[in-house]
């Protein structure tokens, strides 16, 4: 009886492990983690993660991420571990594997899980999930055993657990040669400091016209120990940032968020709506962002931002 977690992203795996540990302790379950890769892990590396067992699949085909190969490996771990619940990080890679594994093993998969209840005695799992791009939530009873749920990065908080001995179990998986082959993998430029750790976010929308305008927004962010981030088209069409905020990107909860030139579409706002305070700057008086912010400035960002920067400097503004 266990909760099994998998994410190819270490930060997300730690978040899932922390949440799984909390729930497992109340239900008398153990926490297991699937580790899929080319080399054997050392249990001591995970002593503070809160996991009891690491199920390791080693195979040279697990070098680059490939959904077919990872599906073979994760399915083998699930079958050997026999968990009550499988948590998978909702990265792009994780979404592919979670869905494919669910189909192969006939499992129900709750997408965009933000919380769950597991009753080990009743052998039941209910998951609360975001629906309609985050405009609502639905609570589902997962009818299959095990249940599977995908969880976005940042939904749960990673915490250091008391050191424990971690049991490493090697799993023999029948990994077939995939029909999609990865010819080359290109790492994206690494983001600087983790956006999740920034107390202030300056969020850049399509209302910002030129790439060189980012300099003033970066200055605004830096004055408050913050970071700049952006909407999907600013990243994907203009390529100004390696990642974006929103349902399909990162979801943040800073103390203060400046939404600069942002229209307010829900798919994006979900990435910033847990901010403590949101300030919107937009020249469109009907901007949807104004209904979703605390303080609204209806003006040209090019008039306001430079003056705001000067005022912050003059008045020696710092984070509280």
């Amino acid at each position: 009886m266990s909760i099994l977690l998998f994410s190819e992203n270490e930060n997300v795996a730690r978040e899932l492990a922390a949440k799984a540990r909390t729930v497992a302790d109340t239900q008398g379950l153990s926490v297991a983690m699937a580790l899929l890769g080319e080399t054997a892990p050392a249990g001591s590396d995970f002593a503070a993660w809160g996991v009891d067992t690491v199920y390791s699949v080693q195979n040279s085909l697990l070098s680059a991420f490939n959904p077919e190969v990872y599906t073979d490996a994760l399915a083998a771990v699930i079958e050997q571990a026999g968990p009550n619940l499988v948590l998978v990080g909702a990265t792009k890679a994780g979404l592919e594997v979670a869905s494919r594994v669910s189909e192969r093993l006939n499992l129900g998969c709750a997408s965009w899980c933000v919380d769950f209840d597991l009753d080990a005695a009743e052998n039941s799992v209910t998951a609360r999930c975001m629906i309609f791009s985050g405009q609502g939530t639905a609570t589902y009873k997962v009818r299959t055993q095990p249940a599977l749920a995908t969880v976005s990065p940042g939904v749960f908080e990673a915490v250091e657990a008391p050191a424990r001995d971690v049991n490493v179990v090697s799993v023999e998986a029948d990994i077939k040669t995939p029909r999609m082959t990865v010819v080359q993998e290109n790492e994206k430029m690494a983001a600087g400091r983790r956006l999740q750790d920034a107390p202030v976010i300056v969020d850049v929308g399509m209302g910002v016209k030129e790439r060189e305008d980012l300099a003033m927004l970066e200055e605004l962010a830096a004055l408050l120990n913050g970071q700049t981030a952006c909407t999907r088209p600013v990243s994907s069409d203009r390529d100004w940032f390696p990642e974006w905020l929103g349902l399909s990107g990162a979801q943040l909860s800073p103390d203060l968020c400046f939404a600069i030139g942002i229209s307010g579409a829900i798919q994006h706002v979900i990435g910033i709506r847990d901010s403590k305070i949101i300030v919107a700057i937009n020249n469109d008086p009907d901007s949807g962002m104004f209904m979703q912010s605390d303080y609204n400035i209806n003006a040209d960002l090019y008039d306001i931002v430079p003056v705001l920067i000067e005022a912050i400097k003059t008045r020696a503004v710092t984070l509280a």
């Binding site: 992203n9 680059a64 991420f65 959904p67 077919e68 909702a90 792009k92 890679a93 592919e96 869905s99 669910s102 189909e103 192969r104 006939n106 129900g108 709750a110 997408s111 629906i131 309609f132 985050g134 405009q135 609502g136 939530t137 639905a138 609570t139 589902y140 997962v142 009818r143 299959t144 029909r179 999609m180 082959t181 990865v182 010819v183 080359q184 993998e185 790492e187 994907s236 069409d237 103390d255 203060l256 403590k276 104004f290 979703q292 912010s293 605390d294 303080y295 609204n296 209806n298 306001i304 003056v307 705001l308 005022a311 912050i312 003059t314 008045r315 020696a316 503004v317 984070l319 509280a320």
Partner: protein, 267 residues
Amino acid sequence: MKIVACIKYSLDASEIKVDAASKQLLLDDVPRKVGNIDKNVLETAVTLGKAAGATVHGLTFGPAKAKESFREAMAFGLEDVTLIEDPLDGAGGPSVTAAVLAEAIKKIGEVDVVVCGEVSDDGFTYQVPPRLAERLGMPQISYVRQVELEGDQLVAERELDDSSQSVKAGLPAVVTVTEETNTPRRPTLMDALKAKKKPVHLWQVDADLGLDKKELAQKATLEQIATEGVVINRKQQMVAGDDPAAIANQLIDLLVKENVITANGGA
């Protein structure tokens, strides 16, 4: 050779409202249409079809009343659209959709490429394309930025969170596109006129696909027990003033009051 474009008659999720008092999602008056992502699906499907000399067929699972909604999709250059009537009215979830689409693709026959959106406008689960690929025993090339047919192989660039991958796969295969994959064409009046002659076939899961409705209902793996709308509760206070400096200083004063910043100097 055939290419299938999977599309969906979706709720326009941007039109969903929430009743602030009851937290109910107000879905009854939300308009439905073929999804925005489906334009990207159709663009990729017809582009691949033209390069390979293949016919391109639309495939969708949804309500029979959607039958008249595929004119624009057809004008991209589809041979036909097959609409499979959903006996569960959307309640089946991704496992049911994938099972039905897989049977339909087998029945259409000789399908070499299945093109799907990475995610639907309203369901937003990301589950159907990988489930479909698994069910059909096909490789999946998800989140493509570029995709081309080279002989009997698909060659693609695909986008993950921290990397992009150059990949290739033999046929048949499932491809998923994103809103960044292409810029969809705008069908011309001629395209629209030609499309008028193309048929929408209405299929039933039992009569046309040999699926048992009861068994299909049992494939629904999630039971929805409650829904709730997210109510946004922000102050929405306009900060106005005679000039930008007055506005900026007023904003700083407000943020000091909120305890998020401290200001050591006065305005």
